[in-house]
């Protein structure tokens, strides 16, 4: 299983779209840094083509820093740094989209 991370804001940068276009399950998609803006409802349409074998996560600290912890779409599981580490080990390899 591949872990995909995205760290760019979807309002300015195509990294999230590019990742989703090249992604097939089983996979984990983790939004970090400015990528966490992608977990807000305004961008849910980007995720429609993903099926149930792609699990979506978002990093808690980056949400808090940006004041959007209360805006996260239900598709996402909010995880802390330790869970990020565990996720990266549960996956065989990773692709960073930036």
């Amino acid at each position: 299983m591949i872990l995909h991370t995205v760290n760019r804001a979807p309002g300015s940068h195509a990294a999230l779209q590019q990742c989703i276009q090249a992604l097939s399950g089983p996979a984990a998609l983790l939004l970090i840094e400015d990528g966490v803006y992608g977990a807000t409802p305004a961008f849910t349409r980007l995720f429609h083509r993903l099926d149930g074998t792609v699990h979506c996560y978002v990093l808690a600290a980056d949400l808090q820093a940006r004041g959007i912890d209360a805006l996260v779409d239900g598709r996402f599981q909010v995880i802390d740094d330790a869970a990020f580490v565990q996720l990266s080990l549960d996956c065989d390899k990773m692709v960073a989209w930036y």
Partner: protein, 130 residues
Amino acid sequence: MKIAVLVYGSPTASSAAATAYRYARAAIGLGHQITRVFFYGEGVHGASALAAPPQDEVNWGQRWQQLAQEHEIEMIVCIAAALRRGVLNQQEAQRHGKSAANLAAGFELSGLGQLADAALNSDRLITFGG
């Protein structure tokens, strides 16, 4: 598990150094080993000994130095990327006729082979892009 980390982003123009640091600290906290951190591209600026951020901001280079010392982490800075950006140790400063060196203690200049090796011989390689 043995984990290697790639930092490929400027400490001031990206969050790569900060996020990678939080990841490494969490991994160590869970009992894993961070074997090597490789600084490449703009990431090499994080190894400058001369950075003097405001007192209420974090100096990520110093954070990495401390973590590396406490947990025996190799901190490798890509030598080609560093030369191009003006991050030099004594030897390279002399070789290129430069007036000073600025590579922070605890960091080592080396080649890309160290990254290729980390990719294939660690249990995981985690990339933090810029």
